[in-house]
Symmetry: C2
Amino acid sequence: MASTAPARGMRDFLPADVRRRTYVTGVIRGVYERYGFEPLETPAVENIETLLGKYGDEGNQLIFKILKRGEHEASGQADLALRYDLTVPLSRVVAEHRATLPKFFKRYQIQPVWRADRPARGRFREFYQCDVDATGSTSPMVEAELCAAACEALQSLGFTDAVLRLNHRAVLSGVLDVAGLPADKHGEALVALDKLDKIGLDGVRAEYERRGLSGASAEAVLGILGAAALSGAVAADNAATLDAVAAFVAGHEAASAGIANLREVLALAARTPASGQLRVDLTLARGLSYYTGCIMEMTVPDLAGSLGGGGRYDGLVGMFLGQPVPAAGFSLGLERILVVMGERSMFPAHLTTTAADVLIAQWSAATAGDALELAHQLRGTGLRVEVYPDADKLGKQFKYAASTGVPLVVIEGDDERAAGELTVKDLRTGEQQRLPRANAGPRLRALLSQV
Amino acid sequence: MASTAPARGMRDFLPADVRRRTYVTGVIRGVYERYGFEPLETPAVENIETLLGKYGDEGNQLIFKILKRGEHEASGQADLALRYDLTVPLSRVVAEHRATLPKFFKRYQIQPVWRADRPARGRFREFYQCDVDATGSTSPMVEAELCAAACEALQSLGFTDAVLRLNHRAVLSGVLDVAGLPADKHGEALVALDKLDKIGLDGVRAEYERRGLSGASAEAVLGILGAAALSGAVAADNAATLDAVAAFVAGHEAASAGIANLREVLALAARTPASGQLRVDLTLARGLSYYTGCIMEMTVPDLAGSLGGGGRYDGLVGMFLGQPVPAAGFSLGLERILVVMGERSMFPAHLTTTAADVLIAQWSAATAGDALELAHQLRGTGLRVEVYPDADKLGKQFKYAASTGVPLVVIEGDDERAAGELTVKDLRTGEQQRLPRANAGPRLRALLSQV
């Protein structure tokens, strides 16, 4: 007999799960649409060349690869792969449809992605991302609107304490340059620095030593980036943080331009719902290799890791198109949002929790057709109606209704039939009453909203 | 440079596509929920053993297989596979959660499936199915409600000419038994018969001969099944069709029980929205191997193939659970429904076709923050608002708005700012007017609904 568990790191979503997921994605979708983002969907499966080389070495290894079909299957060759994020497919689509898409294409996309990561608490191999991206403009307005949309989406879900951390890839590179770290060591230095909040300054220093990054350069990096973070400046004063790093990289053209860009994004985003949630964090690096400018990450105090992140990636579309198209985006992680909302009991009470509003009991096999007709009549008024399928004893049918939480049970027995009526039992109160059959729908709806 | 086309047989859905798909799935979901079906979602990826052996030989070959990760990757071994339908995952879930699911578990599931079929017009390698299934009851009420839900879903989308064909696996087997066809030839005989509407009676006879199925037995099968179909009985008189086949299989216990079951389903379904669309079709076979009872298929005159189908499969859950759980389901095919609705122009005019209701022009880089604040104010009234990101000339901004179909363009220039007003240009009429900035949202909403 085959196993009945889902594949490792994957999950089945039972009705209560789906309702919570649908609620959250509906709220996010609503916000994204009010910001003028349009829906896009791409296939779960991409040609493998589309994905390889876009996510860095570690990313490449986490891509699920699909065997070639037919006679090639025996060769073990893979020609397809599962979508790893929503940004690379977007870049492919923008390149493919460049001629017909609007000059500024703003799209949202809420779909699952797959990564062959080691499963852990809150880390799955299939998980949903809720992405907004805008292509075609280098304006800091783009980043400001992304910050606004992400913050407003979380606010609409009830989050009041999310912090949006910002940094800039050019600033990071500039700091490492000025500190004298050779370019080929930048990646390693940032990977270690990214762990600062977990392992502390001494931990990062130890990791630097292990990687052969000790000495004056490493201390300079730790001095400007680490100290700013640990001193609490991250949480306090964006202007002071930027002033400090600006002094450090003075004369480094790209880094100075990055700081100017960050200042513009901050000033614009301060005029949006993101205001008050914006914190410059010089240690923020973001894992994916395609970012080129401003980078962002959303955190809440009670969750290790982030609720989402994003940034500017002006080079990615060009990898498909051959000519550069500026782009920036933000991705909210549905799974982590759901984890925190669950732990904080943030789901609204009105979320439907039962399969149906009304169960029509089956009086006898001979009257089963009448039950179906009645169901159609009630459904026509918008009620969610289940018909008990078997000719079981009424007691068993009531027990079933109670077990599923359906609030109202309707019976059309011989007496009721003769009188043109129905008996309705409200399982929430135990009360029972007779209603005229002809106009039962509105009466049942009124009953439903009474308790 | 990597190719920008989606993988073979897969599709990107641009905003207009997604809006149509979301509309159709929303209507179907609404009907399913009023029937008391609850939402379920399962992973795109299943353990490969979950899928193998469930769909027949042809099905096995069309399963997309995923390479084992890590050091095993080089071996070419596949341990995972992409979901091939929604019925096998449901059966796995029912077996896994038997203890906590309701006795009658009625679920709907609207998700993509993947099949490595040769792509053709209207046939894709990734396509959505909209399934309803009910487990736990052998009552013909189950099939009647499935017929009702499928028919009402299509009616709600505007279909008035769909026909729901019904047959029964036990009746088919009985006819072949009585005709004297050995059991090991049943499969082949049905595959050929399934093509009757494409190749005609002589075509089926020729195929029978090629497969060594000629002689009296084959003629008997063609006589009772083929003739009933070709005589037009399929379209006319269900009772006459059933009477004829009942006489043919008289004394064959399983077939006679199948006919009685079909009569019950028909009588019950006649009391539902499926009434008037039900046609017994003795040549209907359905490809999947797991069906055990009543089978169904939905067709419209202008589409070769079906809009959906289903049936009873009392053995499938047992393959996972070790004990039988009765089940039946119906699957509507989203892609084909969209094809027909497109060809017939059945999409409602009110479907949103633009990214935004309002474009806020950018007067100058210095006032960009004001534009963001105004956007927030307008979005708060439910308007979908895009902010032009670049400080381009106004003419260019108007041109952009016209190209994307946004109906209203709002400008807050120096004069307007001084007066506490906004200028609004309605691109549909060319008319321009000034509005007070403070309460602009409701005024813009009124403007929007005027044309």
